[in-house]
Symmetry: C2
Subunit: 323 residues, 2 copies
DNA sequence: TTGTAGGCGTTATCAT
DNA sequence: ATGATAACGCCTACAA
């Protein structure tokens, strides 16, 4: 491995000068700069990031902590995050929450990461332990998702399809992962559209810890048990929506002929499921990109700008006029 | 940040001794060891990985290079890889091929990564450039996938369902991503089952560069154009299979009543698609886990053991007796 | 404008 | 069984 010293000797200058041309730290005369650059080329020199990190306390290495990679939401966010990171010369590691327990946290603390994005329900838990590194959630990074637009488009569309009795499947993590925002948006959208919300059609806080397909099934069971009248269902995410459809069909309801169903996230599934799922698309790639962008701002001591991520209702087969 | 020197002073020993108890490098008397351990606890000392890396030339930081994260195949592999890495104290970064062009390669070369797993079609391209780091493909790491089992189970099942005219949608990257292995397995399976392969039903090397849903659609169009008789279709992956189903249905064929369709990969989609897709499950998590395990072996100078990853046919709705 | 030298936190080689 | 101390490759005052 060729070091900066090699380059200095080859070019007949001091190591400091090499540093200065590599980093542009100080002004270097054109003549010497050329000599150094030639030497760098000739020796195929590449600065050693590890040594640089030791000296500067800056690794240009960040991480993003996610619950899992099965959910397209997270992977798209990772892609977005990487797209921003690479632009600034940062390398990004992913960390799965599951492995955090296995002694992982402490290990991470010693790696000198410049920052960590916490894209997990367990953000608080992590923050409490990791004092060494800047651990930032979506909120800390000053980026928010404008669910209002997509949700209100969805509610508007449902109303135009003749639905006024809308059930809402909220899932359980209502306070932690931002789904309460969707609920707020839903309420607001109904108000705007002049739709009266029937409290009994709000299926809230179920027993299970996740908002997956089974949660959707269970929610519909509880919904049907109420005996209340409804013609459409909005779910907190696509998986719950799919579970809902499945359970509705099992009970003899046709979707969308009898009941319209709307999900949230525009996951890959929603497009391929049958009936294809009407859902709310959130620009998750952009979300990831912005979070990383802002994290790097924070690392550099700048205040992160505020950004709002757009959402949009996408209508597919699962929502339509009642037949 | 508390350093080793702080610990040494606090415990009244030398820095070298602290190292020895931290790393277990040399024998340390119980008495002194206890003092050091107390100091470590009292000062909440954590060794600095960056400094350690500079001294040892070992970062315990690896990367895995993937084409994208949209494909569940890759994300499951990442999860598997991480599960092994964390066990040995390695942190893993992911790198998307797309961002490699944007000056990324050189940046990576200087980070002192201990190793990189190349899970991409463009492996050769990368290997040529990255001489600094150990770049290893699945083959280099001595792990292979036993497609034969799953494929032969599938063919066997199709035969029992009364299918003997099986079309095979091969896609285009037949030489690069291991799909030719599936083709070999298919041939072998047919031989074992006594099924004669009709060459005209092998839809090979299409114009497009990808093996996605559209490729499946196009393949079926070409298949139908041959005018040959067939009652079932095997596709190189799930997305192509779904495209195939779509195009078959558009042409008035019912799946599985008229034509049975089998995919490959057991992606999340295959379970949710309607009709749910019969497919071949490959233990991709285990694949990722083993690759990382073997990579770490290589890093440590040991020869990676050979491992075969299992595959298994999973029958769902899309394959059945002809009606 | 360029060079010198001390320090970043560890490891590892020698002495003791 | 411990302790000094020179690397590791780079950055950065401070000198020249």
């Amino acid at each position: 491995m060729t070091t900066r010293k090699d380059v200095a000797e080859y070019a007949g200058v001091s190591v400091a000068t090499v540093s200065n041309v590599v980093n542009g730290t100080k002004f270097v005369s054109d003549e010497i700069r050329a000599k150094v650059e030639d030497a760098i080329r000739a020796l195929d020199y590449r600065p050693n990031m590890v040594a640089r990190s030791l000296a500067t306390k800056e690794t240009r290495h960040v991480a993003i902590l996610v619950d899992n990679l099965k959910n397209g939401y997270y992977t798209e966010m990772l892609e977005g995050a990487q797209s921003a990171a690479v632009q600034y010369g940062y390398i990004v590691s992913f960390i799965l929450c599951d492995f955090l327990n296995q002694g992982g946290i402490l290990d991470i603390a010693s790696r000198g990461l410049d920052g960590i994005i916490l894209a997990t329900v367990r953000a608080g838990e992590v923050k409490a332990v990791m004092k060494q590194t800047a651990c930032m959630t979506q909120g800390d990074l000053n980026v928010e998702i404008d669910y209002a637009k997509g949700v209100s488009q969805a509610v508007h569309s449902l109303r135009k399809h003749g639905h006024s009795d809308i059930a809402f499947l909220a899932g359980t993590r209502i306070a932690e992962d931002g789904s309460h925002i969707r609920w707020d948006c839903f309420r607001e959208a109904c108000r705007k559209e002049g739709i009266r919300i029937n409290r009994k059609l709000i299926i809230d806080a179920n027993a299970r810890q996740t908002t997956d397909e089974d949660a959707g099934i269970e929610a519909v069971q509880r919904l049907l048990a109420t005996g209340e009248h409804f013609t459409s269902v909005m779910a907190i995410n696509d998986l719950m929506a799919i579970g809902a459809i499945r359970e509705l069909e099992r009970n003899g309801y046709r979707v969308p002929e009898d009941v319209s169903v709307v999900g949230c996230d525009n996951s890959q599934l929603s497009k391929y499921y049958s009936p294809s799922l009407s859902t709310i698309d959130v620009q998750v790639f952009e979300l990831g990109r912005t979070m990383m962008h802002n994290l790097i701002d924070v690392i550099r001591g700048e205040a992160p700008g505020h950004k709002t991520i757009a959402s949009e209702y996408i209508e597919r087969e699962s929502a339509a006029d009642r037949s």
